[in-house]
Symmetry: C2
Subunit: 332 residues, 2 copies
DNA sequence: TAATGATAACGAAACGTTTCGCAAGGAACG
DNA sequence: CGTTCCTTGCGAAACGTTTCGTTATCATTA
C-alpha cells in the first residue's frame, strides 16, 4: 500500500540506484533532484527503515535495558538519554527489567533479535553474564549509573564511594558520633555508598556497631523498616545516612509515623536529590547526581563505538556530584 | 557474521521453507526437528527480526508516544503497558515528546518509518492532527489517559470530570464554601477536572469568584505560584482542589514555605495518588487512578486491532477511580 | 491393487532497500 | 582531435526471512 522506491522509479524514469543515492544525500543532477522530490511528495513516499535495515545491518535504534521503568530515577535520566539519541537520529527501544534478573536476561536476547545498534544498560544484576549474548553478537554496550563486578564495559556513573564519603563530612563536622546507615545490598550503588560511608567512619576513628548497619534492598519498604528498626534501639543513633531516593522516602515515612522529628530527634543525609525533597520537612541534605551529563556522556560513548566502530578498551567514567544543603542535621 | 537460516539449511540439508516452518511452529518430522534444533544450538542461530519484518510487514513492536518520560506518572503507567505488551510478545519503542507538540508530531513520523504495528499515545496536543500520518498509514492507535478534542480514536482513561466532582463531595460534606481550584488548562485532564470541580460547585449552589480559579500548566511551578497567589488574597479560600500530582507538589511547597499549615489554615484535595503523599504531612485526600488496569486495557484494545485486524468503530473507555482518605480536610 | 487423502518437504519468488562494478557523457588538457 | 578525468546514472546482486504452488511420500480405504 505505501509507496516504495519502485513507484518513484516509475514516475521519474530514473533507476533505483539513483533514487537511493538521492535519499542518502548523494549527488544527483538538479533536474533529477526536482523530479524525485516531486514524486516523493506526490506519492507520500517514506523510506522503509526495515528494508533499509536489512541491507545496511543498522537499525538506528538503541536498546535501553532499564532496571525498572517505574522508578522515578529512570525517567529522570532516560529523558536525557532520549534527547541525546534523537540528536544523533537514533530512537530508544526500551525494555523494562522490572527489577528481575530473569526478565533482564530475556530482554537482552530480545534486543539482539531486534538488531539494535547498541545497548545502554542500567542493570539489575551485579554480574555481567546476562550481557554475554550481546557482546558476542558484537553489539556495543554502555553501562549507566551502575557498574558490574566481573565484567568490563564502557560505563558512566558517579563516584558513589567518594560521594558517600564526602556526604558524611556534613555529619562529622557537626560532631555526630553515633551514625547509622541504611543501604541497599543487592545494587552496585548501594554497596559502593555503603563502602564510602564505612570509609568515612573509619577515617574518623568511629565505630559502627552491627545494629547500626542496615542492609536492605532498593525500596521504600526497606527504608521504612530500616528506620523503624533503628528507632527501636535502646541506644539510638543520632544520625542516619541513607543510600538512595527510595530508602530516604521510606525512612522519612517511618519517622513521621512514629512521631519523631528531624533534625531534633535524628539527623539525616540522603542520596538522589529529587524535587520532592524540597517540599518535605525538613529539607534533607542530599547528594545530587548530574543526570543530564550522565545521559549525554553515555550516548556519546555509545555513538563512538557504533558510528566510528571504535574498538578501544572499555572506559569507566566516574562523575562528581554536588551536595544539596538542607536543614536535616543538628549541631551536636 | 551471525548464523542465518541458510547455515541451518547447509547443516541439516533441509530446505529454507521447512526450517522457516519449524521456526514458526509448523509441523516437521521428529527427526528433522531434532536436526534443526541441534543446528540452531550449534550455530547460535537467532531469527533476524528485521528480515522477518520485511516480508511479514509486521515488527512486533508498538510505538509509545509519551508526553514526558520525565514525569513520574509516565513510568508508573508504562511499566504496566510494558508487561502487558511483553505477554503478547511485543516490545516498546518509546518516543519522548518532552511536552512539546512539535517533537510529538516529528515522533509520529519517526514511529511510522520504524513500521511499528501500533501506537499508544499519551498526548501533549489536544487536537489530533499530529496523528493523521499514522492514521493514513493504517497504523492502529490507542490513546491513553488523555483524550483529544477533535478526533476519534480508541481511548482508555479515567472519568476525570466525574472523579473531580466526586472528590469535591469530601470538601462540601465538611461544609467548605470558599473553595478554590488550581488546574492545568492546556491538558485534557486538567480541563476535565476543572469542569468536574465547577459542576460540583454549581450543584452545591456555590459561587467561584474568578480569583479562586487558577488555570496554569501541568507543572510544579504552576502549583507553587497558584497556591501563593491564593494565599495572598485578602479573602482566602478555606480549601483548594488541585488537578494533578505536579500541581499538588508545588502547592504544598508554597504552603510549607509560607509557614501555613494544612488542614488548620487550608484544606486540600488532590489528584494522582503517589507513594510520596503518604509521607507528606498532612496526608492529602487524593483521587487514585487504576494504572494497571489502564495500561492493560490499552494494550488489549491495541492488540485487538493489530492481530484481529478489527475495524470496529473507536471506543472510549472511562474507568472509575478511588478516593484515598487523608487528613488534609478540616471540618468547618 | 488402485485410487484417495493427508502430511511434509521443496524451489522460487517476493519484501524494499543499498551497493558494487561498470558505462556514458562531458569538460579539461596537451 | 585523442586522451584522461570526473561526475552521474544504471543494472544486478544482495540482505535473511516468509509464503505460494507444487511435488513426493506414505498410510488408508474401497
Amino acid at each position: 500500500m505505501p509507496a516504495t522506491i519502485r513507484d518513484i522509479k516509475k514516475q521519474t524514469g530514473l533507476s533505483l540506484a539513483t533514487i537511493s543515492k538521492y535519499l542518502n544525500g548523494g549527488n544527483v543532477l538538479p533536474e533529477n533532484k526536482v523530479k524525485i522530490e516531486a514524486a516523493i511528495k506526490d506519492l507520500h513516499y517514506e523510506v522503509n527503515e526495515i528494508a533499509r535495515g536489512l541491507v545496511t545491518n543498522k537499525t538506528r535504534t538503541v536498546g535501553i535495558l532499564v532496571y525498572s521503568i517505574e522508578s522515578p530515577f529512570s525517567g529522570l535520566i532516560l529523558t536525557h538519554v532520549g534527547t541525546a539519541l534523537r540528536k544523533h537520529g537514533y530512537g530508544m527501544l526500551i525494555a523494562d527489567s522490572c527489577n528481575d534478573e530473569e526478565i533482564e536476561a530475556a530482554n537482552v536476547k530480545y534486543l539482539i533479535s531486534k538488531k539494535v545498534d547498541g545497548i545502554i544498560v542500567i542493570p539489575v544484576a551485579s554480574k555481567g553474564d546476562f550481557l554475554l549474548p550481546a557482546k558476542n553478537a558484537g553489539i556495543p554496550i554502555v553501562l549507566l549509573d551502575r557498574s558490574l563486578t566481573d565484567a568490563q564495559y564502557d560505563c558512566v556513573r558517579i563516584d558513589n564511594r567518594k560521594s558517600a564519603n564526602y556526604a558524611m563530612k556534613e555529619l562529622l563536622n557537626k560532631n555526630h558520633k553515633k551514625i547509622a546507615v541504611i543501604a541497599s545490598e543487592k545494587e552496585y550503588t548501594g554497596r559502593e555508598r555503603y563502602n564510602g560511608f564505612m570509609d568515612a567512619m573509619r577515617d574518623a576513628g568511629l565505630d559502627v556497631p552491627k545494629e547500626y548497619q542496615v542492609r536492605g534492598t532498593h525500596s521504600i519498604a526497606s527504608g521504612y523498616n530500616g528506620m523503624k528498626q533503628l528507632l527501636a534501639l535502646k541506644d539510638k543513633p543520632t544520625a542516619v545516612f541513607m543510600s538512595n531516593y527510595e530508602i530516604t522516602l521510606g525512612a522519612m515515612l517511618a519517622i513521621n509515623e512514629l512521631g519523631y522529628k528531624s533534625p531534633d530527634d535524628i539527623s539525616l543525609v540522603g542520596f538522589d536529590d529529587q524535587i520532592i525533597f524540597h517540599i518535605l520537612k525538613p529539607q534533607v541534605y542530599m547528594i545530587e547526581q548530574p543526570l543530564q551529563e550522565m545521559g549525554e556522556k553515555a550516548v556519546d560513548m555509545l555513538m563512538k563505538r557504533v558510528t566510528d566502530g571504535s574498538l578501544d578498551n572499555p572506559v569507566e567514567i566516574a562523575l562528581a556530584t554536588r551536595m544539596v544543603q538542607g536543614n536535616s542535621i543538628k549541631e551536636m
